[in-house]
């Protein structure tokens, strides 16, 4: 294991409980990566090595998962991660216009982070909030029936 990277005691207990749910340790890879991402804010190569060691998996297997699933990030994102759905139901109700608005407001392209590391802007596929489209996810909170005005209000309230 590398460079002194280690889960907190609480996370270790949590991990133990998760691993116990499966007959094979490796099955805990996705939930373990979630724990790691929350604790270390990104799945860096050091984290990959740490997780591979914890679960007895090859580095290749961990790296495959990291590269396959879109919700894991190999590098730290901005303090606020805005994920705007641009799939069909949201786009029918103006998601692409909202994307243009967010880009202009944050002065970054989708996939980028503001220089002050406050915001990362991403477009994502259907988030399952089609009935209250357009929708965006800001960290773990969903904002539904989104408008430009709504975006202004949400962003203004952020510390």
């Amino acid at each position: 294991m590398s460079k002194g990277l280690e889960f907190s005691k609480k996370t270790k207990e949590r991990l133990q409980a998760i691993v116990a749910k499966y007959p094979e340790k490796g099955a805990a890879l996705l939930p373990t990566l979630w724990l790691a991402q929350r604790e270390f804010s990104a799945i860096t190569p050091e984290v990959e090595e740490y997780v591979a060691g914890l679960l007895g998996l090859s580095l290749v297997r961990v790296h495959e998962a990291l590269s396959f699933y879109t919700m894991y990030t190999p590098q730290p994102l901005g303090k606020y991660h805005i994920q705007l759905c641009t799939n069909i139901s949201c786009s029918l109700l103006g998601a692409e216009e909202l994307l243009a608005y967010l880009k202009k407001r944050l002065n970054i392209e989708a996939g980028e982070t503001t220089p002050d590391k406050k915001f990362t802007l991403s477009t994502v596929e259907c988030l399952g909030y089609c009935g209250t489209a357009p929708v965006m996810r800001l960290n773990e909170t969903f904002y539904e029936n989104l408008t430009e005005n709504g975006i202004d209000q949400i962003l203004r309230k952020l510390p």
Binding site: L30, P31, L57, Y69, S89, E125, C126, G128, Y129
Partner: protein, 417 residues
């Protein structure tokens, strides 16, 4: 208007808690099943209900369960598919957020019926609230003796856990879901062997959609025949959740009899089209289902009626597009989605979706050529029916239906440049 079954608690305060669920008669079905019914009777009852899989494929649930061998060298598993990712679909989330115990109870009854001692609920990673509500519900159920050892003093035991996904539409495909649950990339497995024989951790595995499992307690409580009769007259198959989105006045999830006409859902329940515009096109069963023209919206929303007109019920998600909708852009959004979500394992889907996305993007940018539409159809034909998993068809069908049914609009777009 019959009484609501799956969504009756939606909007109630603390509807997700055990207390509220039990007040409404929750876990009575579990007691009935475990204390009064033999496992095979549970399967028989579900068989009678006409319940067909609500995830998209529409396979009869009772029949699916009967494929599980009684004796197997490896443990059997129930896996609930809560990887709701089909664009336009948001019905399972409504159940998990508002009534997670319904899913938990349904999962216990299902496990009991098949002789399963471990169940997993695979929830897409984006559904953070569903995940926490389900985890809470499972904890409550353990505390109350509905899960764990010696459930209701019957000697039956069951463990249940939530498994979070991490962003991959393909994990909604049942074998990809199993791979993902085993901690791998979510890439579909070849079949056979079918999951009913060799599934999760090599054990026989039942995979059912959230809505399907949520119907089970009601079927056990009120009988299979009762459920079947909730379907439209002459159609049967119970009630179904129809998530409606797009250009309607009142989007949302509507619980209606299977076989309710599409037009009725759009105009009577979803309030008709915004700004009272005309309908141009409707996708009737999630983004993969072939699009319908306005002339076709009198179709009944059931598996057979939709198949008869060349579309499908899929997840039952209805996406309404009004007369001003730019179908080139809409199709571009859909194809890009499939290209983005293709797992890359088999050739036609991996290469074909990306290729189609490039063509439609070029057309949208005004650089289309007259041969592009035939190229799109040709590629879609090359994918259809030839991929490892159903996602190939899912990507091909929108292209085929959009380009065929609205060819004039696509041609005009290309001519305008």
């Amino acid at each position: 208007m019959p009484e609501l079954v799956l969504t009756k608690n939606v909007g109630k305060k603390d509807s997700h808690t055990l207390g509220i669920y039990e007040q409404g008669g929750g876990y009575q079905a579990l007691k009935k099943a475990l204390l009064e019914m033999k496992p095979e009777d549970v399967i028989k009852e579900v068989d009678k209900s006409g319940l067909r899989g609500r995830g998209g494929a529409g396979f009869p649930a009772g029949k699916k369960w009967s494929f599980i061998p009684k004796e197997a060298p490896k443990p059997k598993y129930l896996t609930v598919n809560a990887d709701e990712g089909e664009p336009g679909t948001f019905k399972d989330r409504v159940i998990m957020e508002n009534d997670p115990h319904m899913l938990v109870e349904g999962s216990i009854i299902t496990s009991y019926a098949i002789g399963i001692y471990q169940a997993y609920i695979y929830v897409r990673g984006e559904y953070t609230r569903s995940i926490s509500r389900l985890e809470d519900a499972i904890n409550e159920a353990y505390a109350r003796g509905y899960l764990g050892k010696n459930i209701l003093d019957t000697g039956y035991y069951l463990d249940m856990a939530v498994h979070p996904g991490a962003g991959a539409y393909i994990c909604g495909e049942e074998t990809a879901l199993l791979e993902s649950l085993e901690g791998k990339k979510g890439q579909p497995r070849m079949k056979p062997p079918f999951p009913a024989i060799v599934g999760l951790f090599q054990g026989p595995t039942v995979i059912n959609n959230v809505e399907t499992i949520a119907c089970v307690p009601h079927i056990i409580k009120n009988g299979g025949e009762w459920f079947n009769n909730l379907g439209a007259p002459g159609v049967g198959g119970g009630i179904k959740l129809f998530p409606v989105s797009g250009h309607v006045k009142k989007p949302g999830v509507y619980e209606l009899p299977v076989g309710t006409p599409l037009r009725e859902i759009i105009y009577n329940y979803a309030g008709g089209v915004r700004g009272d515009k005309k309908v141009k096109a409707v996708i009737p069963g999630g983004s993969s289902a072939p699009v319908l023209k306005v002339e076709e919206i009198d179709v009944k929303m059931d598996f057979n009626s939709l198949a008869a007109i060349g579309s499908m019920m899929g997840s039952g998600a209805i996406i309404v597009m009004d007369e001003d909708t730019d179908l080139v852009k809409t199709l571009r959004i859909l194809i890009k989605f499939y290209a983005h979500e293709s797992c890359g394992k088999c050739t036609p889907c991996r290469e074909g979706t990306g290729w189609m996305a490039k063509i439609i993007t070029r057309i949208e940018k005004g650089q289309g050529e007259s041969s592009d539409l035939d190229a799109l159809l040709d590629i879609a034909n090359g994918i259809r029916g030839r991929t490892l998993c159903p996602m190939g068809d899912a990507a091909a069908m929108p292209v085929q239906s959009f380009v065929t049914k609205f060819r004039g609009e696509f041609e005009d777009y290309i001519k305008r440049g």
